[in-house]
């Protein structure tokens, strides 16, 4: 199994900078559909599926390796070595922002800058720290993931509803977005929502953009502010957006913030 197959790697565009886009918990690289083509016009763009998600090779999913984010981080470094050219910016959504953090701490020379979209170093509240969730909330999520074993399977066949208003989506409807094996989804949810990387944040010296939605249940503004406070070389940008995926629901504002960051960042 090649790395390309393992992570369903797609490379497009060319330019002096390589942007590696990593999706978060719950979906796959199709999340980058609005941003990736835009950056491919003047950059080398690498998108991929984390092992266990999307069209990655499910047989490569080793529960022990992926029980913590460091397993994913070592995959990221392998992908950067094989597919990146020149200075590399890692664009990580949600949990992948922390995966990028770990990869960057392990090999600082491999990742020259980080864009973190809706990141959180720790989701569970801890005395003074407000992560946004209690431990039982995470259990409630695991419960929801489990009971969607059947529901989820049928949501992969959206033919009943169709999308008559958006014929451009017609062909894509044939495939399914955010395909996830429910068992893996539960394991990934545990690795994501029970992780705590607050102590790693101050050690990342590479330039970092924290892209924060003003109304995000998963990563509240307080978390973005906390990160901005403890990271030595971070910029915080808050965009108007409800939800956890500004790159999908507010792609224009997200791209503006990233453009500004990339312009200031001289490789």
């Amino acid at each position: 199994m090649t790395l390309r197959e393992r992570n369903n790697v797609q490379v497009q565009g060319s330019g002096p900078l390589t942007l590696v886009f990593a999706h978060g918990f719950g979906c796959d690289q199709s999340m980058w559909r609005f941003l990736a083509p835009r950056y491919a016009e003047s950059h080398r763009v690498v998108t991929f599926d984390l092992v266990g998600c999307g069209m990655s090779d499910l047989s490569a999913y080793e529960p022990a390796k992926y029980a913590s984010l460091s397993g994913y981080a070592s995959d990221v470094l392998e992908l950067v070595d094989e597919f990146a050219q020149g200075p590399t910016v890692f664009v990580g959504h949600s949990v992948s922002a922390m995966i990028g953090l770990l990869a960057g701490l392990q090999r600082p020379e491999a990742l020259h800058a980080h864009v973190m979209i809706g990141p959180s170093p720790c989701y569970v509240n801890d005395s003074d720290y407000i992560g946004g969730f209690e431990r039982e909330d995470i259990d409630s999520l695991l419960d929801t993931l489990e009971s969607n074993y059947l529901g989820w399977a049928s949501s992969m066949a959206p033919a009943i509803m169709g999308a008559p208003d958006r014929p451009e989506l017609g062909q894509e409807l044939a495939r399914s977005f955010c395909r996830t094996d429910p068992e893996i989804a539960k394991r990934f949810a545990r690795a994501t929502f029970l992780s705590d990387h607050r102590r790693d944040l101050p050690r990342l010296t590479a330039p970092t953009l924290i892209l924060q939605s003003d109304e995000d249940l998963i990563a509240p503004v307080a978390v973005g502010e906390y990160m901005h406070r403890v990271m030595p070389n971070a910029t915080l940008r808050v965009v108007r957006n409800v939800g956890h995926c500004p790159h999908l629901s507010a792609p224009g504002a997200s791209a503006d913030a990233i453009d500004e960051f990339l312009a200031a960042f001289a490789p």
């Binding site: 909330d137 409630s140 999520l141 529901g151 949501s155 959206p158 009943i160 977005f177 956890h244």
Partner: protein, 403 residues
């Protein structure tokens, strides 16, 4: 007789239909989820008036926390990307706190220039119970399968252990039978010689002094052979069953000990020349009685299997690195297949003369004694160089097995 076809109903009032259909309906702002319109059915289910929902609450606010996370990580991005959702199962919360499972379908539409999500919700209480039971049954089946696999593994291990024990027991039984055979056969010869001798001594009054002496000498030799066999059997039993031979090493002049042993052996084997070569000097840590026993076994072996009337060379070397005793004889080499297991009990060369036969434990005991000293024994045998057994003893003679 054909029945009258039912007459079609007039078109229902849309607002009334919206409110009264037996499923929950909501129209929300996309992508925020802010409720723009909600029907009576859904209001009844969540126990809240429409006025308290429209324009203030988001649809996801009506879900449990797990459902709200799921909405953010899965449902919202899917609606953004594929414009629809179907058959998603979530838990909703009633104003009084109790929760109930629902199935949710949604489609994104454009309405007068703004994006909205049209959401239909059906109660899934019984379906949920059924699915829970299915899930539980599957978990139980998985657990049972796991248990069965474990049981099978345990059974396999137990079976192989049992067959290993059975083989070992059979080996022991065979071995014991063989040994009884050899002992009874081999002990009979010297006992026979002693009985013959005593009967001659008691009946023949006219024996010449010379004849009498030879007779007594033969009887003593036979008695010694029998004694050696019994000693070997005892040592063997101790080594095999009693947890190892015991030796009591102390600082001794090893060459003097071997000298004494060789002198005695020369008397026992008058037809062979037994030489003793010495190298180095000093004390070695060893149990002198056991050294005599090892040299005796090896010399007896050399006499039995070596060239008739040949020379047996015993060489003792003592030095700071340890001591060694080797016993060499000329003669046909030991066959290679025999060489491999020559220190195992009851392995004997083919050409042993009946009179010199023993129980076949001599070399086994030599090895046991050497090892009890923390040393070892080895053998080299070839047509050209003859056969040499060599005992190596560590310096200091402080073997772990010594007591």
């Amino acid at each position: 007789m054909a029945e009258q076809p039912p007459s079609p109903l007039p078109a229902p009032e849309p607002a009334q239909l919206f409110d009264e259909v037996p499923c929950g309906l909501a129209v929300t702002q996309a992508p925020s989820g802010l409720i723009l319109r909600v029907n009576q059915t859904l209001c009844g289910w969540v126990g809240r008036p429409a006025a308290s929902l429209v324009g203030t609450q988001k649809l996801q606010d009506l879900l449990t926390m797990g459902g709200r996370i799921f909405h953010h990580t899965h449902l919202q991005p899917m609606l953004d990307m594929q414009g629809s959702l179907s058959e998603v199962k979530l838990d909703m919360r009633h104003a009084d706190g109790h929760r109930f499972p629902v199935m949710l379908n949604a489609i994104r539409r454009q309405h007068e220039g703004r994006a909205i999500d049209v959401v239909s919700i059906t109660m899934a209480e019984e379906r949920n119970q059924y699915e829970r039971e299915l899930l539980l049954a599957r978990q139980r089946a998985d657990e049972l399968l796991l248990k069965e696999r474990e049981a099978q593994d345990a059974l396999r291990i137990a079976q192989s252990e049992a067959s290993r024990l059975k083989e070992a027991a059979e080996d022991r039984a065979n071995f014991a039978e063989q040994m009884i055979g050899i002992v009874s056969h081999d002990l009979r010869n010297p006992l026979h010689a002693i009985l013959m001798g005593t009967s001659m001594l008691s009946s023949e009054r006219t024996l010449a002094e010379e004849q009498r002496r030879r007779l007594v000498g033969n009887m003593m030799g036979a008695a010694r052979r029998a004694q050696r066999m019994i000693t070997e059997l005892l040592d063997f039993t101790v080594e095999r069953v009693g947890g190892g031979l015991r030796v009591e090493p102390r600082a001794v002049d090893l060459q003097a000990v071997v000298d004494g042993a060789v002198d005695e052996l020369a008397l026992s084997f008058p037809h062979h020349r037994i030489r003793h070569e010495k190298a180095g000097h000093g004390d070695a840590g060893a149990d002198p009685d056991r050294i005599v026993q090892m040299v005796g076994n090896l010399v007896a072996n050399a006499v039995t299997y070596g060239v008739p009337a040949g020379v047996v060379t015993v060489a003792t070397s003592v030095g700071p690195q340890g001591a060694s005793i080797s016993v060499h004889n000329d003669g046909a080499p030991i066959p290679p297949q025999l060489l491999e297991r020559i220190f195992e009990p009851m392995v004997r060369g083919a050409q042993a003369a009946a009179a010199a036969r023993n129980v076949g434990l001599g070399l086994f005991i030599v090895r046991a004694i050497a090892q009890a000293h923390g040393g070892s024994v080895s053998v080299m045998s070839s047509q050209e160089h003859g056969t040499t057994f060599r005992i190596d003893l560590p310096s200091g003679g402080d073997p772990t097995k010594a007591s």
